[in-house]
């Protein structure tokens, strides 16, 4: 079999899809991708598959241990099913992380391109803003905004959308400037293209892979940030639930019912770990600077 593969020309029958994936993608990355798909499925389907409504209390079955029939991950102090709450939390945390990552990528890239296009004052302004962002730990910034405005889901998504924008802005600006200095972008300028065409049709596709790699870095950080805020009780507010918020409330029952806190903590860990592993792998494949 190995001989056959080694000598087979490219166009003859390729080994099966599964086999090709297995030889090309490391085992850990496959596991990560499987876990992430599971998380996305759960987030999409939670309304249909979760066994109980999120707020359904069953005071006769409070603090049931995991493995109890009907409550496979146990129940919390009010007898609410941990599995059901976990599924809803995954959805909320993922929605916030996806929304925020998209916002921050669009916002940062736009500012970066504007800085590259107009240079001068616009560029200084963007860079100063980026400095400002770097000067304050994001957790502190987020906490003070929440202090002034109070917490709501929309505000939380927008707030998280400011996380990491300066990274995209720096990358987009740097790549656009270097593209404009000698390369293809200068050539297209010279063909008479409008700036919109140059940035959207030429520069954006060329920097997209680097930006996507940054997104795989920002995404887990946003999950951690949101769960940290929710853990402190300043992010997602009850009755809504998120992974960090579950850990935060589970903390009170750490001695008697550690599963309330362990289940969401494990999900946070596995998810951020999976994104990091998959992101590292993606970076090796996509980032042209590595090649």
């Amino acid at each position: 079999m190995t001989d056959f593969i080694a000598t087979a020309p490219m166009n003859t029958a390729r080994p099966g899809l599964l086999k090709r994936i297995r030889t090309k993608v490391p085992f850990l990355v496959i596991l990560s991708l499987l876990w992430l798909s599971l998380m996305i499925l759960v987030a999409l389907l939670t309304d249909w598959v979760r066994p109980y409504p999120v707020t359904k209390m069953d005071l006769s079955a409070r603090l049931a241990v995991p493995g109890t029939p009907g409550h496979w991950l146990g129940t919390d102090e009010l007898g609410r099913d941990v599995l059901s709450r976990l599924m809803q939390s995954i959805r909320v945390s993922l929605v916030i992380a996806f929304g925020a990552t998209a916002l921050s990528a669009v916002f940062g890239t736009t500012l970066g391109f504007l800085a590259a296009r107009f240079r001068g004052i616009v560029e200084h302004l963007v860079l100063t803003l980026a400095d400002f962002q770097a000067a304050l730990p994001f957790m502190i910034l987020a906490l003070s905004v929440l202090a002034f405005f109070g917490s709501s889901l929309t505000l939380l998504v927008f707030l998280m959308g400011f996380y990491g924008w300066e990274r995209y802005a720096r990358i987009a600006r740097g790549l656009a400037i270097s593209a404009g200095a000698q390369g293809y972008a200068a050539a297209v300028v010279q063909l008479g293209a409008t700036p919109a065409r140059i940035y959207l049709k030429h520069i954006l596709p060329n920097v997209a892979s680097t930006l996507i790699v940054s997104m795989t870095l920002t995404f887990p950080e946003i999950i951690l940030m949101e769960s940290g805020l929710s853990f402190l009780g300043l992010g997602v507010q009850p009755p809504e639930t998120s992974l960090g918020n579950m850990v935060g409330f589970g903390r009170e029952y750490l001695t008697r019912a550690p599963w309330i806190m362990l289940a969401p903590a494990l999900v946070v860990m596995l998810t951020t770990l999976s994104i990091s592993l998959a992101g590292d792998w993606l970076r090796d494949r996509l980032d042209p600077t590595v090649r």
Partner: protein, 327 residues
């Protein structure tokens, strides 16, 4: 006779920042250059790196703004860079780059890139773009089946053909070629130069051909301008430059070009540092390296003056006809 492209007294100054609070230094990359190119004519521009020849090419196209002087294209002044008029004018003047790989977008198939100027300028109906691209590809010697290839899948010579095809798409009147062959293998260079010459004959376009390589320029240019530290030091027909160079710098350049059947015995080897535009010598900029320099060369700057019919040179010694001719 009206020239297609006319430049008068062009100056291009670069500002070199030496730190936030230090005074910026100014480097004159192009320093008072005047020239004219007629339709169908090829002007060669020759010089070492740092002579300002590439900058001159960019100023001629209006890509870099001139700090002084004026460029007239078809008798009209060059609009400011980035304005709609400037963009519109791109259809009539194009640039061929030194490094074709850098000049092409690596994420688009070449056919799309060749057709892009047509779409930008709306010159051809969308449905006909494909046909026109096939025509262009055939004209520069690319195979039809290469249309969907990406730049990195082609050889250096083929990539340069793509760049040339893209430059010719709008049927421009002027083509500026900035070292179009110096990144290519010697064996490919001749092919590309011949291609450019054929295309010029066929379309009657004017060309400014910038190169550090006299051999290449000799093959294609009608007239040659030799640049040294931002100035033209000699300008003459291609024939005259090679047979009877007048300026000592040109003589040194010409003497280094090998001629079949002749030993390079009389080669003039220039001494001293290569020119640095940031440290421009006083007087005649060439005097520190000039084998024939006299005391006055250190203090007075020679003007480019017309000597015989249709040729000019900038050397103090020529005024006293002291320069021995190299044969």
């Amino acid at each position: 006779m009206t020239a297609l492209l006319e430049a008068a007294d062009l100056v291009r100054v670069y500002e070199v920042q030496r730190g936030l609070l230090a005074k910026p230094a100014f480097v004159r990359a192009v320093d008072g250059v005047s020239l004219a190119v007629s339709a169908g004519e090829t002007l060669g521009i020759v010089g070492e790196s740092g002579s300002g020849k590439s900058t001159l090419g960019r100023v001629l196209l209006g890509i870099d703004p001139a700090a002084g002087g004026q460029v007239l294209f078809s008798g009209k002044p060059m609009p400011a860079r980035g304005t709609p008029e400037w963009r519109k004018l791109r259809a009539q003047m194009q640039l061929v780059f030194q490094d074709p790989l850098a000049a092409l977008d690596r994420r688009l198939p070449i056919a799309e890139q060749i057709g892009e100027p047509l779409i930008i300028h709306g010159l051809v109906a969308k449905a006909d773009v494909k046909d026109r691209v096939s025509e262009l590809m055939a004209a520069v010697g690319l195979r039809r089946d290469q249309a969907e290839r990406y730049p990195h899948e082609l050889s250096g010579g083929q990539r340069q053909r793509v760049v040339i095809a893209r430059a010719l798409a709008t049927e421009p009147k002027l083509l500026v070629c900035d070292e179009p062959v110096s990144a290519l293998d010697v064996s490919i260079q001749a092919q590309v130069v011949n291609l450019l010459r054929d295309l010029q004959d066929r379309h009657g376009l004017a060309m400014v051909f910038i190169s550090h390589d006299l051999k290449v320029v000799r093959n294609i240019a009608d007239r040659v301008a030799v640049m040294y530290l931002g100035r033209i030091v000699e300008e003459a027909s291609s024939e005259d430059i090679f047979v009877k160079p007048l300026h000592p710098y040109t003589q040194a350049l010409v003497s280094s070009v090998p001629v079949p059947g002749r030993r390079l015995k009389s080669r003039i080897i220039l001494q001293g540092e290569p020119p640095n535009p940031a440290k421009r010598p006083s007087g005649c900029a060439f005097h520190p390296r000039c084998p024939m320099a006299q005391p006055p060369c250190r203090t007075s700057i020679p003007a480019l003056r017309t000597l015989e019919s249709k040729r000019a040179a900038a050397c103090l010694l020529l005024d006293r006809s002291e320069v021995p001719l190299v044969t």
